[in-house]
């Protein structure tokens, strides 16, 4: 089945929607009520809604509302200032669940999502609490309303959960045991640094987790994912996401704790802009990017072919450019185009292709180093070695071969 690529919407959601509408970039949207008012959501056409997933974003039901206040189902809106997340059970959660399901049905989104709250570590009552607060109220409502769209259960999976085999297996047992749901909307809650996920154990377990869900014929939607989406794609997720800012590529619960004035990471004078390089599988600090483009005449791969590190596309920008929109659109364009080259490949071929891209990227980083370019730790290629290992181990397990 072809992989679908959706926009993970955030603060500047309009940029993503523009790309989808004007350039056909992306197969759909994951909506963000935290930043999109109900009025914003209603600007989408029925067709766009039918290719959209509405994430209710109940991550912290007791925090400041932001634009969530425009939706009548957000817990704090109905429980008032006295609301405490820990006490959020019973009648109120049933009311909110009913309203949230009603909203999702009325808008005819692609899936109906059962939300989750954010948890730290591996809570002993994780499953029981989820069932009480979200699982049962939402499922009761969904079944009573005879919802016809497919149902996703949201899981916010942190590093501790994933690395604790017993805990991870219990989540899989529980999730796959819910016979009325079609899949999982998986959010990976990981450390903000490094920007590219490079923990080999984490990556292997994450790929296995996705694989286990797919073995159960469940849809898997992976939200808030950075460039590692390309290697996760060999575990055959149904939908992966691309995001403009880091806040939509790396899940960070702090972003949901308070109303942010600006989610883009500072003002334009102090910000470090980065450009995505499909050839390097990395976002490169623009100071380095400009130097590479201006000073280094030729970067080659192992075949000594000249390589253009940064894609030339409709939104390419000059070295002197500062400003989020153009860079963001350029990056989304590049990322989507790269993922598009592998999305229709069968898994063995996809693995071979990605393996080639990673191996080439490793050589290109070496070539850059040979030419004296010492990249900063957020722009270098250290993540590529665990990535290569992770996909090779996964391929071995699957019995895939590489012709390279």
């Amino acid at each position: 089945m072809a992989l679908k690529i959706y926009h993970q919407l955030g603060f500047r959601f309009k940029w993503n929607i523009d790309l989808l509408r004007q350039d056909n970039i992306g197969d759909g949207l994951i909506l963000c009520p935290r930043h999109m008012t109900d009025s914003d959501t209603q600007t989408l056409s029925p067709l766009e809604k039918s290719k959209s997933i509405f994430d209710p974003q109940f991550f912290l039901p007791g925090t400041d509302l932001g634009d969530l206040a425009t939706y009548d189902f957000f817990p704090r809106k109905n429980s008032g200032d006295e609301f405490e997340t820990q006490q959020y059970i019973g009648t109120q959660s049933i009311l909110d669940a009913n309203k949230c399901v009603d909203y999702q049905i009325a808008n005819n989104f692609e899936y109906c999502v059962i939300p989750a709250r954010h948890q730290i570590g591996t809570p002993a009552r994780f499953i029981t609490e989820y069932e009480d607060i979200f699982g049962k109220p939402f499922m009761d409502s969904i079944l009573a309303k005879n919802v016809r769209s497919k149902i996703l259960v949201q899981i916010i999976l942190n590093e501790a959960m994933l690395k604790d085999d017993e805990f991870k297996n219990r989540i899989l047992d529980w999730t796959t045991g819910m016979m009325d749901i079609s899949g999982v909307y998986l959010i990976i809650d990981r450390k903000k640094k490094p920007k590219q996920l490079n923990d080999l154990d984490f990556l292997i377990k994450l790929m296995d987790f996705i694989d286990d869900l797919r073995d159960n014929e469940m849809d898997v939607v992976i939200g808030y994912v950075n460039v590692e989406s390309i290697i996760l794609s060999i575990a055959d997720p149904t939908i992966i996401t691309i995001g403009s800012f880091e806040t939509t590529r790396i899940f960070n619960i702090k972003n949901f704790e308070q109303k942010e004035e600006n989610d883009t990471g500072g003002n334009s004078n102090t910000r470090i802009y980065r450009t995505y390089s499909p050839k390097l599988l990395q976002y490169i600090n623009n100071i380095y990017r400009n130097t590479i483009i201006d000073e280094i005449s030729k970067i080659s791969d192992e075949r000594e072919e000249e390589i253009i590190l940064f894609e030339q596309n409709k939104y390419s920008f000059p070295s002197s450019h500062k400003g989020d929109k153009l860079i963001s659109q350029h990056n989304l364009f590049s990322m989507y185009n790269q993922l598009s080259t592998i999305k229709n490949l069968d898994l063995n071929k996809r693995y071979e292709e990605i393996r080639g891209i990673i191996e080439d990227a490793i050589i290109l980083f070496e070539n850059l180093s040979d030419k004296g370019v010492a990249l900063d730790s957020d722009s270098d290629g250290k993540h590529l070695y665990p990535w290569l290992t992770a996909i090779n181990l996964f391929a071995n397990k699957k019995g895939w071969r590489s012709s390279r």
Partner: protein, 284 residues
């Protein structure tokens, strides 16, 4: 428990012939107006929640109206936390008594498919049997499977289960790992795949000529503080080598999946399970 605690109830059924006597359960064959014969079950409970559960399940049986389950004729709550169930008598013998008739793959697999088809009546109502074992499978003279003791085992065998080391409902010899760790894992992990594991044990046992696949005499004893069969079930140690032989090659992968330690590694849907079983005997 006082063995005469049901005397005043049994007094009303002078023809009662004892069939089975458990910790808090007694089963009798009685004369019954209409069908002629019926099964009388008398039992005792401790907590109101237990009788409520039994009442719900009686309702389910009445609702199902399936050939796979005995019809319920009566249910009454009695004094002193006791109850009476009267249900259809099915002329049959238990699978325990018939194991030797199902030792070849096609017969065993067809029987499994028959039982699964019956259990689907429960599963689609989100009910799990939790105690699928040869004693609870009846074989009619025509060779059809019937399923008994739905849910009743949860209450009636509880003392026995506690003694055996089980934390939750079920019978140790046929329990799935999530039943053995019920207190630790909770009810959320109990589902139709729990019954699937129970069935996996039965299927393996049939093909092993009646030997229990997890029995220590067959595979040795795993380390652990549970009973020996339970320890082997929990450690997923069973007689796989027997199924390495060529004639078992089609059934082995199906058994491995049914007997997977974790429910998510088993067949997610009954349809997939039936499909896999059918395929292993060359039927679609």
């Amino acid at each position: 428990m006082d063995s005469n605690q049901f005397e005043d109830i049994l007094y009303k059924y002078p023809s009662a012939q004892l069939l089975l006597k458990g910790g808090q359960k007694q089963v009798y064959l009685i004369d019954y107006q209409g069908p002629g014969k019926a099964v009388l079950k008398v039992g005792a409970y401790d907590e109101p929640v237990e009788i409520e559960r039994i009442m719900r399940e009686v309702e389910v049986l009445r609702d199902i109206e399936s050939k796979y389950y005995p019809k319920n004729y009566e249910f009454n709550e009695e004094t002193n936390k006791r109850f009476v169930i009267i249900e259809e008598y099915i002329e049959s013998t238990s699978l325990t008594q018939n194991i030797k008739n199902y030792t070849d793959i096609p017969k065993a697999v067809h029987l499994m498919i028959d039982i699964i088809t019956g259990l689907q009546e429960l599963w689609k109502r989100n009910i799990v049997h939790r105690d699928v074992k040869p004693d609870n499978i009846l074989i009619t003279p025509n060779g059809d499977a019937r399923i008994i003791d739905l849910g009743i085992a949860r209450l009636l065998d509880r003392n026995t289960l506690t003694k055996l080391g089980l934390n939750g409902p079920g019978t140790e010899q046929y329990a799935a790992p999530e039943q053995l760790r019920y207190i630790e894992y909770g009810k959320a992990l109990i589902g139709h795949r729990t019954d699937q594991f129970n069935l996996g044990i039965i299927l393996a046992q049939l093909l092993l000529n009646g030997y229990h696949p997890f029995h220590p005499d067959v595979v040795g004893t795993a380390k652990g503080n549970l009973g020996s069969i339970a320890a082997n079930i929990d450690a997923c140690i069973w007689q796989k080598e027997f199924f390495d032989r060529q004639e078992m090659s089609t059934v082995k992968p199906v058994l491995e999946k049914m007997l997977a330690r974790h429910p998510h590694k088993r067949y997610r849907t009954p349809e997939k399970l039936i499909e896999a079983l059918s395929n292993c005997i060359g039927e679609e």
